[in-house]
Amino acid sequence: MKSIMILAEEVANEATVVNEFEQTLLRIFILIIMFGLGAGLTPKDFGLALKRPWGLIIGWLTQFGVMPLTAFILVTFVLFQFDPPPGVAFIALGALIMGAVPAGTTSNLFTYFSKGNLALSVTMTVNSTLWAFVMTPLMLVFYSRLVGLDESLDIPVGELVTVIFGLIVPVALGMLVRRLSANAGSVLELIGGVFGLLFIPFLIAIWVPRNWQLLLTTQWPTYAVAIGLGAMGMTVAYYIAKAIKLHPMNARTISLETGIQNGPLAIAVIVSVYADSPGLDQILLIPALYSLFIVILSTLVTFWFRRANVAEEQKIPNLL
């Protein structure tokens, strides 16, 4: 357990895993990417996502049903087996928060690269972020009681509003640009795509060197929870969507959308709510590890989706 304490200190020293400047840079990155994604969409695409709300409903269920439950299961059957409470209570709390937060913006990016339904993805992110006002505290209270951690949580409204605006505004602007000039729109889309590709190595490049010690000293159960949360979430959501026969494109979208949580939001919430907690560093541990590994995990899943895609989808007759 000592080792966990040490690395938690590391996390605390870095406060938010990435520093202020890198965070700003990441925000700009995401803004450009969202702008580009928006330029690939038309209002018609959103109309379709709303007209056939099945994807949205399933997405909601997996987002707030599967993810918190997965976090709970992992905490109970992995983390606590290794070191029962109160030893890892703070780490467990971090995991439960991670499970309860809404979908992250990067899910849109991965949906784009895995040829999913981008409009559905964006709609789902907005939807789950809106619901987060209610559902995130609710899920946290419920599951933390269940594991015996009497926690309640006030979600900082400002953070959620920022997330939603940070998503809607660039997407809407991107769509507007495309409407005014298809050429400008497609150039933006291309730039967004290039930034999207750079985003992952960039993230890893700034994260790993700084935190390699954390990676080396973290115990496997913590890894299992941090990685398992995203992996199980994606898998379960994918097969649920497949089981009810949603189009493969939508199943891929829901899978990524569910598994990819809003890591930065979780970190921001923790830092603002538990600023004075003696366990701040430990609470941050899972969200920090999750944020790194979800990028790697999603990249792998995207490659797999792209490959499976070819075999699964109908063959399109060739012209010319």
Binding site: T42, K44, L48, R178, A182, N183, G185, S186, V187, E189, L190, H247, M249, A311, E312, Q314, K315, I316, P317, N318, L319, L320
Partner: protein
């Protein structure tokens, strides 16, 4: 003489006879459009990601004048010289094609996907002296040019006339990402340089001279055909052929083609006669805006065109309509502004036309024609009676009938070879008097297609004469079998051919492209059993990834047959 039975089925605004044609040649026809629509957008090229470039009628006119001057003054070509043009759909294409006509030269459309031997055959047969080629396909030239008379090569970029930043991005993507820009190792002039030189050299007085002596009977284009029978030969299409066929098509469509209001999607290649006459010339003449797409493969390449433009007209072949119907984005949001679609080039399957009408709520009418007939011979009327599975009624000023082996007209409902007479029939095959004499007798062109006419004067293609399968003395028409198989759920495309059989002489064999999971061969055969006579039922069903197709997507049964022969030889060896 009794009036033709189809005359009464022309919509009220369509006259059975074309009025006197007021244009002596193609440039005059084009000029009329430029005079009325000079500021209107004429062509917009759309890339799969939505990047686009646009030229107005006035720009097309000015640039094609310059290109004509380049060919005559700078290259030094003489009236009647052949200019080969080999490029996919792009903004340069109409400029080059119109420029060739304005220069009093002869256009030789060439498929950009041709291999070196095919190029050598077509260039040397036509005697082309100048080649305008897309830089994406120019790598074969070093091997080809020495065996032809070509002395001048003009190279065209796909991004020609796009805004500079966008054009730059396309170039970068082509060069470093898709690597579609081969090294060109023959002397050549870039298209923009040619235009610049032409612009400097052009003058009103010289331009007028280019067309001196060009009448409606002068050859405008050598359009190569006959690939399905073997050696490719050039159909000599005159200015008169192309001008009248354009006017026949416009007249036949009546109010379906509104002047100055249509936005037509050109997904088929314009070097092919179908899109050439209908999309390029006819829609230009009525002041339409042409949305051109360099390649409709995969069909998702068309999504941005449908998203970003209010497409009112679409021309295509069965394969294209079928492919669109199988695209999810198309099913989800069928084009709202579409008014009509025209199918040709190959038989339109009933299942496709029904699904099309159901999904889009607009008519998809089938027509018929050949390269040798410029191409339109018949079309279903857009307003009025349109019959499914029929190629419609002859366009104005055209006579069509079905005849037996002796050339005598057969009774209504009887199958016979379809023959046609009208102002759109080619002058003949280039330097092939014997083949010309075999195809055109007493002014009637023999199509080699078997059709039947009903009492209303509507024609129905039974099949290609050469594709007919003879099973124990019974005629089996592949179209009929394909039609049934196409209706089996899960079948995307089908090609049916006859293969040699010891017992029955020939037997029916089906080649199927299917969804995953595929319907079983038994299921397909069982379906045929319910709907077809015993001798027509395929003896075998082979599942394939892809069927061989012509440039416009026509399924090539000949290639399927050749593959079977090649396959059995291999087995024997």
């Amino acid at each position: 003489m009794t009036p033709n039975p189809w005359t009464k089925h022309y919509p009220s605004e369509v006259s059975p006879e074309l009025e006197k044609v007021p244009y002596a040649n193609l440039p005059e026809l084009l000029r009329a459009a430029v005079d009325s629509y000079s500021k209107t957008k004429a062509f917009t090229q759309v890339m799969p990601n939505g990047m686009n470039g646009t030229l107005t009628y006035a720009q097309i006119d000015a640039h094609s004048d310059s290109f004509a001057a380049y060919l005559r003054e700078v290259v030094g070509l003489k009236q009647g010289d052949r200019v080969a043009v080999q490029m996919p759909n792009c903004l340069a294409y109409p400029i080059v094609a119109f420029g060739v006509f304005k220069a009093g030269l002869v256009l030789v459309n060439t498929n950009p996907l041709y291999t070196a031997p095919e190029m050598i055959h077509q260039f040397s047969d036509s005697g082309a002296v100048t080649l305008v080629v897309s830089d994406m396909f120019a790598d074969r030239l070093a091997a080809v040019l020495p065996k032809t008379k070509i002395k001048t090569v003009v190279t065209v970029k796909i991004s020609e006339f796009f805004p500079p930043v966008v054009a730059g991005i396309i170039r970068i993507v082509q060069r470093y990402w898709s690597r579609t820009l081969p090294k060109i190792n023959v002397p050549h002039t870039w298209f923009q340089a040619a235009l610049k030189a032409g612009k400097a050299a052009k003058s009103e007085s010289k331009s007028a001279g280019y067309l001196k002596g060009i009448t409606s009977d002068s050859v405008a284009a050598l359009q190569y055909t006959g690939g399905t029978t073997g050696v490719s030969k050039g159909a000599m299409l005159s200015h008169g052929n192309l001008v009248t066929n354009t006017l026949q098509m416009i007249s036949h469509c009546g109010t379906g083609m509104r002047k100055g209001m249509e936005i037509v999607l050109t997904a088929l290649p314009m070097y092919h006669i179908f899109a050439f006459t209908i999309n390029l010339v006819a829609f230009f003449h009525i002041g339409a805006r042409n949305i051109i797409v360099p390649s409709p493969r995969p069909p998702s390449n068309l999504q941005r065109a449908f998203d970003n433009y209010k497409i009112t007209w679409l021309t295509g072949v069965n394969t294209l309509f079928n492919a669109l119907l199988n695209e999810r984005w198309f099913q989800d949001a069928p084009p709202k502004h579409l008014r009509a679609s025209a199918a040709g080039g190959m038989a339109l399957q009933a299942s496709v036309s029904e699904r099309w009408r159901e999904l889009t709520g607009t008519p998809l009418v089938e027509g018929y024609g050949l390269t040798e007939t410029s191409p339109v011979l018949t079309f279903n009327p857009l307003t009025g009676l349109s019959k499914d599975g029929s190629i419609g009624i002859p366009v104005p000023s055209t006579e069509v009938k079905c005849v037996n082996e002796k050339g005598k007209e057969v009774a209504v409902g009887e199958p016979g070879e379809i023959i046609a007479r009208g102002p759109q029939i080619m002058l003949g095959y280039w330097q092939r008097p014997e083949e010309t004499a075999a195809a055109i007798k007493d002014g009637w062109f023999y199509t080699g297609d078997i059709a039947q006419m009903d009492a209303d004067g509507y024609f129905k293609i039974v099949d290609r004469k050469k594709d007919m399968i003879l099973v124990s003395g019974f005629n089996v028409y592949p179209n009929e079998v394909e039609e049934q198989i196409a209706a089996v759920p899960g079948v995307l495309e089908v090609g049916v051919i006859g293969v040699p059989d010891e017992k029955s002489g020939e037997k029916v064999q089906a080649y199927v492209v299917a969804t995953v999971p595929a319907p079983s061969a038994e299921k397909i055969i069982a379906y045929c059993r319910e709907n077809l006579a015993a001798y027509k039922i395929p003896q075998g069903v082979t599942f394939v990834d892809e069927l061989p197709k012509s440039p416009i997507g026509k399924i090539l049964r000949r290639v399927l047959r050749d593959d079977v022969v090649a396959g059995s030889n291999k087995k024997g060896a």
